[in-house]
Amino acid sequence: MPHVFPFSAILGQDEMKLALLIAAIDPGVGGVLVFGDRGTGKSTAVRALAQLLPPMRVVAGCPFHCDPDSEHGRCDECRESPRARSRRMPVPVVDLPLGATEDRVVGALDLERALGEGVKAFEPGLLARANRGFLYVDEVNLLEDHLVDLLLDVAASGENVVEREGLSVRHPARFVLIGSGNPEEGELRPQLLDRFGLAVEVTTPQDLAVRVEVVRQRDTFDRDPAAFATRWKRRDGRLRRRIVAARDRLDAVQVDEDVRERIARLCMALGTDGLRGELVMVRAARAVAAFEGDAAVKDAHLYQVALPALRHRLRRNPLDESGSTTRVERALAEVFGE
């Protein structure tokens, strides 16, 4: 396994890092979309996240790595005959490479066993591997449309239903969808955009000192990845402990009525469609509060999550020059300004 650039060594790009951490603390926030310039460390950050997450407990031998501690969302087999043994495994961060075929994504007839033994068996695909973890699609805007539709469908229902080659299988597929891409290559369909919980825009740093430091670090890493990873191990470990602590605290974080009301007012001021914006914002703010060790959601948390939670939900006039980021900022100032 090649060494991965450590998460805590990534300079700047705070909004992107925060969005990924929120998704790691509360997967229910519903996916992260990272859109922006080339060479800004989009893929680096997502791959680094995989290294950062603490291992999870799974039912031993279950291809969908069901949770032994929870009845919820188990596969049929684990539900019918609960197996006692469990093991630890790293949280899966599954790469969906461009050019992946549908059969590998949803799973299909196990060719080896079919040809060799004449047995009709299901071979789980990438969706099964990503269960309880992350599914990462780089260049999500270049993915073929029928695959995108399929991903959205499964991500929304949390279940993968396979009906092909005489197989009829359904299994849990709850994952955080992380997409990254460059809008210059083609814009994302609005339907897809809305399904992501958080949307982050990344730009190249304009400050020379930061740029120098980024290049220096990357170069150091390229020359000796192992030594570099060792040097950042402790900081990654500290961050990991904070994530674990935040997960434990998450349910206890208070969201007061007046905070909810302000969120609602913000969404009304922006005219976002539906309630998804409000829901995501509450969840994301709660995750940030838990991460920072606060007992209740405060305005400061809302400020941090408003942009990623709302900027892609504005009723889009794709031609509006003034960008959704500015619109959200303006509304923030209006609602919280007084």
Binding site: D37, T101, R216
Partner: protein
């Protein structure tokens, strides 16, 4: 400014140098974009590169748009049938591990194929998830993208270009100019072994980063690649550390071709400089004569390279910085005649010309193997062979959707009163958002005064479309023929790329400037009708929106000559106009959605 000490570099020796540096460190520098027509000069360069690489390193040519299963690997059908179990076949990229991949006709490569290559370059491993196979193999290589683009519009996808350190132009070089010295393979080989120990000072690092910034290069990959190139250069010169000369060379080869703005005097001043104390460093570092700092040398080198005929490549900051000038190419490539996206498989006979979907066929046959084997065995046939029957054949289904490109030809002349122009703009904007949802492309032509201007080549970037539209001034004569001709030229380009053009002409039809730019209502109208007949001959979908306050006979006649729809808009607001345009667009694009 520095004195003219930096001589204008000879393009061929620069190209040779780039080959040597790339061969030294193919993985670190990523690759070379080789912009040159096929011919002896390009072959010579490739031969040189090949000599410079280690003798046994792989050298794999990838044909244009090789299917993903050739690139990545997949199921080896013959071996699978033989063995009775899935056997993986290595793809071209995996084979190229430790060597060089040559991408042929890279300017026509699909962005999705470029993204595949880019992904392997980034991660250093090849992730295979197809045909029932799932594996990852470490795979590292450098890329040579053969770019045969004739016009600036034709260029490899930006995702690929961003990952290739060197951009080499062989355009103006004749076969006779290719003499000269090049580093011997042995020298390169020993330099390769020195590479890991070459040191880089902070000053050099800062210089390269600030040079990239001053040149308006956003991507951070560029200074990183320049750093790798500088290190390779130092290794080649057997220097223990990178010095100003190496940095200048790296800037010339790596940074200059990507510049999106010229380092003006003022920006040079603004660029944060290392503190004055650096003066003493400089003296201690290199005592031989020139009292320039590394930064000055690097900028001087870049400027010398820029003045050397590269200036026309430089875009005004707003087009280049966002990389939008580059986008045009990748957007256009997408529509190149394609078979469409595979949409699964269906039972069918491959002999009818359809493509056999091997894996699906095997899947269909697999469950029956035991049943089919039984009679075969009793009849004394071989037991291990896979029994595939005709009813198992599956062929690939393609969804072949050609893209619609709506070409708006807007009359911005004085006779179209300013208010009507505003309405036309409003209607186009509304229509643009429809295009956005349908993922159509749009192009914009405006005509006024003496001639027509293409404001926007076909694009999907609607923000740009809007920007151009908002900035459209009005007033002047009505060179209708010129407008139609410009629209027609765009339509031809769209047709060549396999798309479907649609002309939307907004005018009052009162032409008063002829094709050659001279005034005169009579000739102007004749010319306009002649152009309209051209439109009809192409059989293009056309809509004419009459923007005059009262319907004009001339506009109606023009629409009839074009064989298109006519809509008069006596008191139309933007929304009605939009309905009319949509009516013309919709049936057209719906027909294209054939599966």
């Amino acid at each position: 400014m520095t004195p003219g000490e930096e001589h204008t570099p000879d393009p061929w020796s620069d190209a040779v140098l780039a080959a040597a540096l790339f061969a030294l460190d193919p993985v670190g520098t990523g690759g070379v974009r080789l912009r040159a027509p096929a011919g002896p000069v390009r072959e010579r360069w490739l031969d040189l590169l090949r000599e410079a690489l280690p003798p046994d390193s792989p050298w794999r040519r990838v044909p244009l748009n090789a299917p993903p299963d050739r690139l990545l690997g997949g199921l080896d059908l013959a071996a699978t049938l033989q063995a009775g179990r899935p056997v993986a076949e290595r793809g071209i990229l995996r084979d190229a591990d430790g060597g060089v991949v040559i991408l042929g006709m890279a300017e026509r490569i699909e962005p999705s194929v470029a993204a595949l290559v880019a992904c392997v370059l980034d991660s250093g491993e090849l992730a295979l998830e197809r045909d029932g196979l799932s594996r990852r193999d470490p795979t590292r290589f450098g890329v040579v993208a053969l770019d045969e683009g004739m016009v600036d519009d034709e260029r490899p996808p930006a995702a690929l270009l961003d990952r290739l350190a060197f951009h080499v132009e062989l355009g103006g070089i004749g076969p006779r100019d290719t003499a000269g010295v090049q580093p011997s393979p042995a020298a390169i080989d020993s330099a390769r072994r020195r590479l890991a120990s070459v040191t880089v000072s902070d000053e050099i690092l800062e210089t390269l980063c600030s040079a990239a910034q001053v040149l308006g290069i956003g991507s951070l990959r560029a200074p990183l690649q320049a750093l790798h190139a500088a290190r390779a250069s130092a290794a080649l010169a057997a220097r223990p550390g990178v010095d100003a000369e190496d940095a200048a060379l790296a800037a010339r080869l790596v940074l200059a071709p990507r510049a999106t703005q010229i380092p003006s005097e003022s920006s040079e001043e603004e660029a944060p400089r290392p503190d004055p104390a650096q003066g003493s460093d400089r003296d201690s570092e290199r005592g031989d004569g020139d009292a320039e700092s590394a930064e000055e040398r690097v900028l001087a080198a870049v400027k010398a390279a820029l003045s050397n005929g590269l200036l026309e490549e430089i875009r005004p900051a707003d087009r280049g910085r966002a990389g939008s000038a580059r986008t045009r190419g990748s957007g256009a490539r997408r529509t190149s005649v394609r078979r469409g996206a595979p949409r699964g498989a269906r039972a069918g006979d491959p002999r009818s010309g359809a493509r056999l979907d091997v894996v699906e066929t095997l899947r269909a046959a697999a469950p029956w193997q035991r049943l089919r084997r039984a009679p075969a065995r009793s009849a004394g046939g071989g037991a291990r062979r896979l029994a595939v029957r005709r009813e198992d054949f599956r062929v690939v289904r393609f969804a072949d959707r050609t893209e619609t490109t709506a070409i708006f030809i807007v009359d911005a002349s004085g006779s179209t009163a300013l208010q009507r122009l505003a309405e036309a703009k409003g209607a186009i904007e509304l229509l643009l958002s429809d295009c956005y949802v349908r993922r159509d492309r749009v192009a914009l032509v405006a005509f006024r005064g003496r001639n027509a201007e293409v404001l926007l080549e076909p694009t999907r970037s609607l923000a740009r479309a809007r920007r151009h539209l908002a900035g459209l001034p009005g007033g002047g004569g009505t060179p209708l023929a010129a407008g139609l001709d410009a629209g027609l030229a765009l339509a031809d380009g769209v047709l060549r790329r396999g798309g479907t053009p649609l002309l939307v002409l907004l005018t009052d039809g009162r032409a008063n400037v002829a094709r050659d730019g001279t005034g005169g209502r009579e000739r102007a109208a004749q010319d306009a009708l002649a152009s309209a007949r051209e439109v009809r001959a192409r059989g293009l979908g056309t809509l004419l929106v009459d923007t005059a306050p009262r319907p004009q006979a001339s506009a109606r006649r023009l629409a009839e000559t074009m064989g298109g729809l006519y809509r008069a808009l006596p008191h139309a607001d933007a929304a009605t106009l939009r309905e009319a345009v949509r009516g013309a667009v919709e049936p057209n694009s719906a027909a294209l959605d054939a599966v």
